[in-house]
Symmetry: C3
Subunit: 204 residues, 3 copies
Amino acid sequence: MDIFYTLDLLGTLAFAISGALVAIAKRLDPFGVFIVAFTTAVGGGTLRDVLIGRTPVVWMTDLNYIYVIGLAVVLAIVFRKNWKKLSKSLFLFDTIGLGVFTIIGTKIGIIANLHPIICIALGTISASFGGVIRDILCNEIPVIFRKEIYATACIIGASAFILLSEIPLNKDLNSMITVGLVILIRLIAVKYKLSLPTFYHNNS
Amino acid sequence: MDIFYTLDLLGTLAFAISGALVAIAKRLDPFGVFIVAFTTAVGGGTLRDVLIGRTPVVWMTDLNYIYVIGLAVVLAIVFRKNWKKLSKSLFLFDTIGLGVFTIIGTKIGIIANLHPIICIALGTISASFGGVIRDILCNEIPVIFRKEIYATACIIGASAFILLSEIPLNKDLNSMITVGLVILIRLIAVKYKLSLPTFYHNNS
Amino acid sequence: MDIFYTLDLLGTLAFAISGALVAIAKRLDPFGVFIVAFTTAVGGGTLRDVLIGRTPVVWMTDLNYIYVIGLAVVLAIVFRKNWKKLSKSLFLFDTIGLGVFTIIGTKIGIIANLHPIICIALGTISASFGGVIRDILCNEIPVIFRKEIYATACIIGASAFILLSEIPLNKDLNSMITVGLVILIRLIAVKYKLSLPTFYHNNS
């Protein structure tokens, strides 16, 4: 499906730019910026592929991901002083990526004949673990473990995709609806600053 | 072997609870708590499976691990103020897990026809690298690299299992003896606060 | 090719010693020192093998790597007060390792029939990601993301190997020339303190 693949690459671009901007702020050199952009963009899909034994991993067989990430690094560096103005567009692409990556990962689990719960896990890993690896590389506790509805949107979207697969619904339509659902949940969460509660208490 | 599998799940529960408690203390949200609990419990076995190409990894084909970890997260959150009182039971289960995971990992290496040294390494990885990944996610230098006899107990237990495989001893009996050996070494190490020496000196 | 394999093990020794020295300085215990030495030496090759599905990974089928790393840990601990004097030899071996690992990784990509860009990536991963994993384990932002020409030397050497494969040149000669090229670039970079520029600016 052509639109879907286009959205996938657009999401990759947005993830890579956001990774590159974090790396630039951490004063990494261009190689470091590229690696952080790369892992942010395809780290989740790579982990997914490694866990299910789908090797060589995705970016080794479709070079478009690498080209898009290279472009993202150039854009991030060249326009590094201008991203504040573009942050709304970037956030939108990033959110599209979140939705698209979730459904791609979920579908790959279904094709590999894995249990629905595992498919949901794979969708969530695909969409959100690139950011986890980025934060580990940058020596931070992963931000999605601490605040904001992020992985939650993936889990709900992937679950909806699995449920809607049970009814006689066109597969592409199902993809579009559930990608939209992930995007919607994420947009609402950010707009209303929703986050999950934490349970810390002084144990001493 | 039924008892062995039960002990495996009990160990998974204990590892997951201890991971969840660390995550709660780090003020992670429920998703973060689940992921840290998950990686603590099955991260070692997952790394083992990925390294030898045994994919999809273990928790994708036996969902009991995920259910047990889900239960552990609920228990950890609900009773988060009471774990101090239960810390002895938790430590016991955790130590049982250490022993059981070691021997499971060692056996998987033997089945994959790998060299005894690699089998010992796989047993040790299975039992102790979940904690390593937990510490990396929580932005700490892994505790088992710094103090306490922990991996050492795994290495000795796995070596004993390999040696006892050479004599005509019932396999289940061998498992039970060497699981017990790991537990014993660990209990003695904790009771007498034994740890490996370090070699730091001011090099300047 | 015998010399090549000898250089491979010499590079492994040097990488492992440098990893062990970092771990000793971080006050890790002998188990921690071994694991950090191990991941520094074979972490890059392990990641490469996992990404392309070449499992069991390299050090599981050729135990010489483990023996050499064990030797390196013993040497690092015994002579821990003397490495300052030996730092030139250590740096030379380390640089040889960088060159050899790059070309080994690149060749493995070619054998796996992957795109030249992926082969260059695999060569770079083989040679430089052990150090990345070492830094993550030791809770640092990877040094090769921040300073010094390091991965850059790998990328240039791997690219040269691919280019020279296109002309009728003896394969071993090609290996030797391009290993030498990586070593040369690295030596020049260190001698003249060359590093890539960074792009940080205050974005507020």
